[in-house]
């Protein structure tokens, strides 16, 4: 398509001027997978319009609802590329309660100006209280209304963390927190679950969108397949012990140090995420390697279906045990 070729050329020009080249992007978000399944989406055009008419850097609004700011902190810990270069050079961060200089009415003005112009990437952290709007008010207004309004003119919407994607822990509280899948029915939302979000998942998704103008390929529940493709179990280094039926019962026993933690409540066998491969904190570690179990935080059933967390008695653990009994975890050839 003629229009599209022109569009992509414009994109690359703008982004190259701000230090985002293909190499940056490829280094970042797992090269091969990223090139698969680029779906055509309606907001491509809207986003292009936005970058051409607005400022030179793509605007980003980051909203926080019923959150703990853990996803913000997780993102701030990214080292490659350095977070300062993302915030100052690559994007124009118009609204972010935890990072912005402005407070009060200045903050609200920065938000409403950007919102009216449209064409921004909207990142949402935290759930929306469905029991009563008053459980989350910002600037005197319900968070739900702010979110609905911000979603209208967004070029892309990214839900970060377990709470914003599928409701997470607040879903099980009396405030009945819901994720964007329920709060914004009918909208295309890129879901980046896990509690907190993995910083690479955010940065890579944003760079992908800014570079291609497209949403990466998503699985049936809105997660980019470049990060959410295989179950943790299939890449777990304790897998051989699972197959051999060696289960950890005592954290003090050095012999059991690498044994499977199914009996301690590990949900790795049904949880889809690249944690064991990408690892966390710049590759230092991840849950299972510090002797802790996978809590299934990348799945919509987190937390309600995962409790009790530290035994094999949860709904999820029972399912895993039944699947094991039925021989459904045979190693792939």
């Amino acid at each position: 398509m003629k229009g599209e070729r022109k569009l992509n050329k414009n994109f690359m020009k703008i982004f190259e001027a701000h230090g985002i080249n293909r190499r940056d992007f490829l280094k970042y978000c797992s090269a091969t997978a990223a090139l698969f399944g680029l779906s055509e989406l309606d907001f491509t055009t809207r986003f292009a319009h936005a970058v051409e008419t607005a400022s030179s850097k793509p605007p980003v609004i980051w909203l926080e609802g019923q959150d703990c700011a853990g996803c913000t902190i997780s993102f701030l810990g990214i080292s490659n590329p350095p977070v300062a270069s993302i915030i100052l050079d690559k994007i124009s961060l118009r609204y972010h309660e935890t990072a912005m200089a402005a407070s009060g009415y200045q903050a609200e003005e920065a938000y409403s100006e950007t919102m009216k112009k449209g064409g921004y990437v909207l990142i949402v952290e935290g759930s929306v209280p469905s029991a009563d709007d008053r459980y989350c008010m910002i600037g005197g207004r319900p968070f739900r209304k702010i979110l609905e309004e911000a979603a209208k003119n967004a070029a892309a919407i990214i839900a970060v963390g377990a709470c914003a994607t599928y409701g997470g822990i607040p879903a099980a509280t009396p405030t009945k927190g819901i994720g964007l899948n329920k709060a914004l029915p009918g909208k295309t939302v890129i879901n980046l679950p896990t509690c907190p979000v993995h910083p690479d998942h955010i940065a890579g998704t944003v760079l992908y969108f800014l570079t291609t103008g497209k949403v990466p390929e998503l699985d049936t529940i809105g997660r980019p397949t470049m990060y959410f493709r295989e179950v943790i179990h299939d890449n777990c280094r304790r897998r051989a012990h699972f197959d051999a039926g060696q289960f950890l019962t005592d954290w003090n026993d050095p012999k059991q140090r690498d044994w499977c933690m199914l009996q301690k409540g590990c949900k790795g066998p049904i949880t889809t995420s690249d944690c064991p491969v990408r690892r966390w904190n710049n590759g230092i570690n991840f849950c299972i390697d510090c002797g802790a179990v996978c809590m299934g935080c990348a799945e919509p059933g987190f937390y309600a279906q995962m409790t009790p967390l530290y035994t094999a008695e949860s709904e999820t653990s029972k399912k895993i045990l039944a699947m094991r009994e039925a021989g459904m975890f045979k190693k792939k050839a």
């Binding site: 977070v83 124009s92 407070s103 035994t311």
Partner: protein, 520 residues
């Protein structure tokens, strides 16, 4: 009646906070602090396996992550009758030490420095330092592109704002450096914590991460880098600011408050817990010339809900805390309860800890004429970061000794299963101050769970007697010559390092009517 202004949202803090002040003759005459978000974690925990609590409560807050995991695990340890092996305690201390080392500098550089410097003064930098010129180029290029988000918009600089180009540019350079150091400190904690935010390894009875010698060496190497940054950059920066351009604010004691201080005490230096990095104590009505520290008695703690959106009840001890929500209560203005010690509001956090400990560096500033307030809070935070770094080295040495002994343990496996019934309290001194969790267990499940977190103490509303909370009291008298530019209000509030998500706990919605709580 003075002019009322409202700052909502207060940004660069954790959580959703709204501050309203009444201004008369250029000064704050009255103040109201309001937490505007609630999730209801304690209600969620009722009926659950008690072991879930440490994992769930970690999610109270993602900035001071895992401090609740720690306090919760301690409450569970007490309720389960578990005795954490010294090896397990050492690993808990080390990952929490890493949390302090990440958290305090982050607060100074990323969350508060912009209140004290005129970032645009960088344009006047005339030196030749290559690194600083690179910083100048970066900021100027933002200005030229007419897009300086998120550094602007901002409140206008005032007479206390640092405008000297050399000081400002070096502060901005350190702002960027601090971002890197914060990531590195978090990597350090992840060596045993698994990942951050939200460590995974702290459970009832100890930890899950069996250490090896290489991990100890790795932690030590990363700690060396942090120590250098804290000693050579962070502490000097805070002192340069505090005793230089901000000295007048320090002398005026802007942000003082009630001068009541509470520290539960925490971070054991030895297996018996005889010596603590932060001693416990209570001070009521500080008199710097004659400091009287009393021992802490947790039975003196109560929570008032008179001005909070909860069903009215007499103040009670947290073990008997109730969680019935009333969004339509007349006169209520916050989701935050009002904890009191012996009926008195308290300040908790680094300044409280350093005054209770009689720390010579902080008390030295007081002797020179600084009054305890916003500036002193930043100084106390920097001073205690160094104490934690020093403690981490000792814990690493102790861990090496411990882990090479036969029968080394990290977990009390004999007390892993929940008791039929029990109760326990867990206290801790995380970065933002005194933290307590209380649990009651019945039929192996959680019967009641309550937490009083640091920001509940500091951000509390008035109690039933109308006595203001610490944020509110500390704002009284703060200079606000221009109501459109209430920069001193946010300076005072941010000096506490607010963490609101964790300060709010609830409950059960009874009605869906919209409560009008905006007062213009």
């Amino acid at each position: 009646m003075g002019k009322k202004i409202k700052i909502d949202p207060v940004t660069r803090i954790e959580g959703h906070l709204s501050i309203e002040v009444e201004i008369e003759d250029g000064k704050v005459k009255d103040a109201w602090s309001s937490g505007t978000m609630a999730r209801g974690f304690e209600a969620l925990l009722t009926g659950k396996d008690p072991r879930d609590a440490s994992y769930i409560t970690s999610r109270f807050c993602g900035v001071c992550y895992s401090v609740h995991q720690m306090a919760s695990a301690r409450a569970l340890d007490a309720a389960f009758g578990a005795k954490v092996p010294w090896g397990g305690s050492l690993i808990r201390n080390l990952v929490m030490g890493a949390e302090f080392i990440y958290d305090h500098p982050l607060h100074f550089y990323q969350l508060t420095a912009l209140d004290y410097i005129d970032i645009m003064a960088i344009a006047n930098y005339s030196g030749k330092d290559k690194e600083l010129l690179a910083v100048k180029d970066k900021i100027l290029s933002l200005v030229k592109s007419k897009d300086t988000y998120p550094l602007t918009p901002r409140y206008e600089p005032d007479e206390f704002t640092v405008k000297d180009p050399d000081t400002v540019i070096s502060a901005v350079k350190h702002y960027l450096k601090a971002l890197k150091m914060h990531a590195h400190a978090r990597n350090m904690g992840a060596i045993w914590g698994g990942r951050t935010p939200h460590y995974q390894n702290i459970v009832v009875g100890g930890v899950t991460s069996y250490p090896d010698i290489n991990q100890v060496a790795r932690f030590r190497t990363m700690l060396d880098e942090q120590k250098k940054f804290i000693e050579e950059i962070y502490i000097p920066d805070v002192l340069t600011f505090g005793t230089g351009p901000l000295w007048p604010l320090a002398q005026m004691g802007v942000g003082g408050g009630h001068y009541n201080y509470l520290s539960y005490g925490g971070l054991e230096k030895d297996a018996e817990g005889k010596e603590l990095v932060f001693p416990a104590g209570v001070i009521v009505g500080l008199d710097p010339a004659n400091i009287k520290v009393s021992p802490v008695d947790q039975n003196m703690i109560s929570e008032s809900v008179h001005y909070a959106w909860y069903k009215e009840k007499e103040p009670v001890h947290p073990y008997n805390g109730e969680q019935v929500f009333n969004l339509d209560k007349k006169g209520a203005y916050t989701f935050i309860k009002a904890p009191r010690y012996n009926g008195k509001p308290m300040e908790v956090g680094p300044l409280a800890r350093m005054i209770v400990a009689g720390n010579k560096d902080v008390m030295g500033l007081v002797e020179k004429g600084a009054k305890p307030g916003a500036v002193a809070r930043h100084a106390a935070r920097a001073v205690e970061t160094k104490l934690v770094v020093d403690a981490c080295y000792k814990w690493l040495d102790q861990l090496m000794t411990e882990m090479t002994k036969p029968g080394f343990k990290i977990h009390d496996t004999d007390h892993w299963e929940p008791p039929d019934s029990g109760m326990g309290a867990g206290f801790y001194e995380p970065p933002r101050g005194a933290l307590g969790h209380w649990i009651k267990i019945k039929d192996k499940k959680i019967e009641n769970y309550q937490a009083i977190v640091p920001s509940t103490w500091n951000a509390s509303p008035r109690c039933e007697n109308g006595v203001r909370g610490q944020y509110e009291e500390s704002l009284i008298g703060a200079p606000v010559p221009d109501p459109k530019n209430p920069i001193n209000v946010v300076r005072v509030i941010r000096s506490f390092d607010p963490c609101l998500a964790c300060a709010v706990h609830i409950i059960d919605p009874k009605t869906n009517e919209i409560h009008k709580f905006i007062i213009e």
